[in-house]
C-alpha cells in the first residue's frame, strides 16, 4: 500500500523517534509513505487562531502539491494537529471555499484525496494482518493507556470519528502486540498543546490529571500517535512531578515505537532510547521476561 506522506514539522525535530519507528514499521509490513515534495508547515494553532484564511490556506497548499504529484493517492498525516488542519482544508477545498483557497495559495486544489491518520492507515485490514504477522517479541503482560487527545477525535464532523468519546483504533493496534489496554477516562482529554509554552501554570493541571487517571487505572505506560502530545507527556512529566510532589513513572511511547519494539527493533533504532522520561527499562524488563516493575 502506498500513501502520499505529509510528515509535518514535528517529525523533523522533537518527533524524531516517531519518524524512526514509523520507518521501521513500514519496512516490516511493506507499506510505503512517499513524502510530498516541498510541503510547508500546516500553521497549527497559530495559523487558525490568526485567521480562518491562514488556517485553511497553509494546509491547502500541501493538499494541492500532493494532488499534483500523486493524484488521488490518500495522504497520511502522523500528527494530530496537522491531521486536523489538513482535514479542515480538505473540507474547505471540497466546498464553497474552493475558489478562494486556490486564489490564496496560487494553485488549483480540488480536495480529491482522502486524509488518513497513522491509526487509520494501519487499521486497514491488509496492513493490520501484516502487523500481526510481523510481531516477533510479543509484549504480553504490559498494560498501557492509549491516549488519543483532541484532534484525531474532535470535532467529529471534521475527523469523521464514530465514537469520539471512546475511540478504539489505537487500542486495537496496540493489542496486536500482545499488550493490554486499560479502560480509562482521559483518553480524549486535552494535554494543553502549545499552551505549555505561553500558559504553563494553566496547562500543568491537564497533564497531571492525565497521568493520575492513567496510573489509577493500572497503566504502566501511555501510548500516543502525536508528536505534540508526546512532547508534553514525555518532556514535562518531570516538571509535573515536581510541581505536584508526585512520582508518576509513566513512560510514553509512540504507537509506532511499541509496534517496532514488538517487531524486534532495537531501542536505539526505533527511538525509545532518547526519551526525556526513561522509557527503555520497562520494555527491556518485559522482553527479558523479568518481572515488570
Amino acid at each position: 500500500m502506498k500513501y502520499s506522506y505529509f510528515p509535518g514539522c514535528g517529525m523533523e525535530a522533537t518527533g524524531i523517534e516517531y519518524a524512526k519507528s514509523l520507518a521501521f514499521v513500514n519496512r516490516a509490513i511493506g507499506v510505503e509513505f512517499i513524502e510530498i515534495d516541498d510541503w510547508n508547515c500546516c500553521g497549527a494553532t497559530a495559523g487558525h487562531s490568526t485567521s480562518h484564511e491562514l488556517g485553511m490556506a497553509l494546509p491547502a497548499r500541501n493538499l494541492a502539491l500532493s494532488e499534483q504529484q500523486r493524484p488521488g493517492m490518500p495522504i497520511v498525516v502522523p500528527c494530530a494537529s496537522c491531521y486536523s488542519r489538513m482535514k479542515y482544508a480538505l473540507q474547505a477545498a471540497q466546498g464553497s471555499e474552493n475558489e478562494k483557497l486556490s486564489r490564496l495559495i496560487g494553485m488549483p486544489v480540488s480536495g480529491a484525496a482522502e486524509i488518513v491518520s497513522i491509526m487509520e492507515a494501519y487499521s486497514d485490514p491488509v496492513a493490520a494482518e501484516a502487523i500481526k504477522a510481523a510481531i516477533k517479541k510479543p509484549l504480553d503482560g504490559l498494560k498501557v493507556a492509549c491516549y488519543y487527545g483532541c484532534l484525531y477525535t474532535r470535532p467529529p464532523k471534521v475527523t469523521g470519528m464514530e465514537n469520539c468519546e471512546d475511540p478504539q483504533a489505537m487500542d486495537e493496534l496496540v493489542r496486536l502486540t500482545g499488550a493490554a489496554c486499560v479502560d480509562w477516562a482521559f483518553k480524549t482529554e486535552c494535554c494543553g498543546a502549545g499552551h505549555h509554552v505561553d500558559l504553563p501554570a494553566e496547562s500543568k493541571p491537564l497533564l497531571y490529571k492525565i497521568y493520575k487517571n492513567a496510573r489509577a487505572n493500572g497503566a504502566q505506560a501511555i501510548i500516543t500517535a502525536c508528536p505534540m502530545c508526546m512532547m508534553n507527556l514525555d518532556m514535562r512529566q518531570g516538571a509535573v512531578n515536581m510541581a505536584y510532589g508526585e512520582d508518576f513513572d509513566l513512560p510514553v511511547y509512540f504507537l509506532t515505537e511499541l509496534l517496532a519494539v514488538a517487531m524486534g527493533a532495537g531501542f536505539g533504532e526505533c527511538g525509545v532510547a532518547t526519551h526525556f522520561h526513561p522509557a527503555k527499562k520497562l520494555l527491556q524488563n518485559l522482553i527479558n521476561n523479568k518481572e515488570v516493575v
Binding site: C9, E12, A13, T14, I16, E17, D38, W39, N40, C41, G43, A44, T45, A46, G47, H48, S49, T50, S51, H52, E53, L54, A57, L58, R61, K100, R103, L104, I105, G106, C150, L151, T153, R154, P155, P156, C164, E189, C190, G192, A193, G194, H195, V197, D198, L199, P200, E202, S203, P205, L206, M235, T274, H275, F276
Partner: protein, 189 residues
C-alpha cells in the same frame, strides 16, 4: 456589577456580533445556556468567563466584554465543547473568532499568547516551516522568560530533537505570498 442598558448596547453591537457569528456559521440563539460546554472544558478553571458565559455575552450584545475576556486566549481549541453541545453550537470556533477579532482590534488580554502566535508564524514566513529554536529564542526574549525551556536543551541536543538550522521549503516565495494573501483577505472581512 454596574448596571447596563442592554437594549441600546445590543443595537450598537448587533451587526458586528452577527457578522462574527456568521463568519463561522454559528447561530447564537441556538444556545440555551445549559452549560455543558463549560462542564467539559479542560481550561475553564483558568478562565474569567466560562465558555457558556462568552456566548451569553454575545447573545446580550456585550461585545466589548467578550473581546476583553481572557477566556478565548486561554481556550486550547480542544473542541470538547463543540463536540458535546446538545444544540450543535460551534462554541470552540466562536471562542476563536472572538480571539481573532480582539487581536485585530489590538486587544490582547494575554500578551504572552499573542507573542507565542506571532513568533510561531515568523519562522514560517521566513522558511515555510516551523523552527522551534527561532520560536523559543524570540518568544523567550519578548516575553521576558529568557530561560524558559532551557533545562530541556541538553537532552534535546543529545537526542537530535532540536534543529540548530531550520528546515526550509524550496519555494519560500510561494509560502510568503500565501501568507500575505491571507493577511490581506482577513483584513478585508
Amino acid at each position: 456589577m454596574a448596571e447596563k442598558n442592554l437594549s441600546s448596547l445590543s443595537a450598537a453591537n448587533a451587526v458586528r456580533i452577527e457578522a462574527l457569528a456568521d463568519s463561522i456559521g454559528a447561530k447564537l440563539h441556538e444556545c440555551y445556556q445549559c452549560g455543558k460546554c463549560t462542564a467539559g472544558c479542560p481550561m475553564a478553571g483558568s478562565m474569567d468567563l466560562m465558555p457558556r458565559q462568552v456566548i451569553r455575552h454575545l447573545q446580550l450584545g456585550l461585545l466589548d466584554e467578550a473581546l476583553h475576556s481572557r477566556a478565548p486566549w486561554i481556550c486550547a481549541t480542544c473542541y470538547t465543547c463543540s463536540a458535546r453541545c446538545p444544540h450543535d453550537v460551534p462554541i470552540s470556533e466562536l471562542m476563536e473568532a472572538v480571539r481573532q477579532q480582539a487581536e485585530r482590534a489590538g486587544i490582547r488580554p494575554i500578551r504572552r499568547s499573542h507573542l507565542f502566535t506571532k513568533y510561531f508564524l515568523l519562522p514560517l514566513k521566513w522558511f515555510g516551516k516551523n523552527h522551534e529554536l527561532t520560536l523559543t529564542m524570540f518568544y523567550n526574549l519578548a516575553s521576558g522568560r529568557v530561560l524558559q525551556h532551557f533545562s530541556y536543551l541538553p537532552a534535546m541536543l543529545k537526542g537530535s530533537k532540536l534543529k540548530i538550522f531550520p528546515a526550509r521549503v524550496k519555494n519560500r516565495e510561494a509560502v510568503r505570498r500565501l501568507m500575505e494573501n491571507c493577511e490581506r483577505e482577513a483584513e478585508r472581512i
